[in-house]
Symmetry: C2
DNA sequence: CGGTTATGGTTGGTACATGCAACCGCTTGG
DNA sequence: CCAAGCGGTTGCATGTACCAACCATAACCG
């Protein structure tokens, strides 16, 4: 509809940057807990539980790579999840330095509950959207994340300081 | 195309929840700094600078409301921005308890630089997108933020603990 | 008025998230 | 077998955030 690099594109990029900034800032506080009487599941922990659940037993290093976080950060969060009885570490048969993390029964339960609540919030937020918009948003968001992933992977610090 | 509440909707909601979680987690680290030799502009500070710039002098309380953050959080960030010489406080003629925040010359410069860099990153991330997708993403993101804003405003804690 | 309550902001205390540097122990390659 | 490297942990520093307690001014009310 419009030539590449048109003014409308610029406006879109500006708007996207703006909205992302706001979203990320605000979303800090949308971290759910286990349930009514339940256990605390921290914001950071939820991501780990979900990823472990969806992709099977993983090493801490694999988690760090997925989230683009420092190994030390993962290490502490893993320790606390283990403490809480939501995950266990099992020996890695191929390397005795490492181990693999697996959800416990309880971890699965907590994840299920928490995930249901979070999805409930999202559903409520999106209740008035058309199916087309929903599907579109889902796929654009996924595409954006994929791009971000690549960006962070290739160029870990360009976003910290643009140049030296 | 599909009946309301269809399976496809559920899948979209699930996917959106997932992608948002990942995005927010990863985006933590995409906070830019002032420039080559420049001053640190923290992630949080950037949002404040940008909002002050775009909507004129504001009270701290207005910032807190916009970001849905505690007044104390804003207070400290404002103090540090003032310290850095990026904003000034001017008396509020209507209420001597309050004051209004305004960007300084330097604040405007730093914002301009930082914003340009951030937009550059976003542009790079989105360089292969079609104009349609860009425009779509921008408007869906804005709509989502608007919904989130309403949600947080009406029901400040439902996302902290779903019920009692 | 004069006292009580409400509102705008700040400060102290605390918790969580995160990165970097230093370290420990196993693995791997001369 | 020793040196270099990798996986993970721990100490330390920072940034972001909330709540509770506080101060000062404003608004209300009898």
């Amino acid at each position: 509809m419009q030539p590449l690099g048109s003014k409308a594109d610029l406006v879109s990029v500006e708007s996207i940057e703006q909205e992302l900034t706001l979203l990320v800032r605000r979303a800090q506080k949308v971290h759910l807990r286990g349930g009514p009487t339940e256990q605390v599941v921290e914001r950071a922990a939820y991501g780990i539980l979900a990823w472990l659940h969806d992709t099977g037993p993983l090493r801490p290093s694999a988690l760090a790579a997925h989230f683009h976080l420092d190994a030390s950060t993962i290490s502490r969060q893993v320790a606390s999840l283990e403490q809480a009885g939501l995950i266990t570490r099992e020996a890695d048969t191929e390397d005795r330095r490492a181990f693999r993390l697996r959800l416990t029964e309880r971890g699965r339960d907590v994840l299920t509950t928490t995930r249901a609540e979070r999805r409930g919030v999202v559903r409520k937020l999106l209740q008035s959207w058309s199916p087309e918009d929903l599907a579109n948003f889902a796929s654009l968001l996924a595409a954006f994340n994929a791009g971000l992933d690549k960006h962070l992977a290739s160029d870990p610090n360009s976003t910290e300081r643009s140049q030296r």
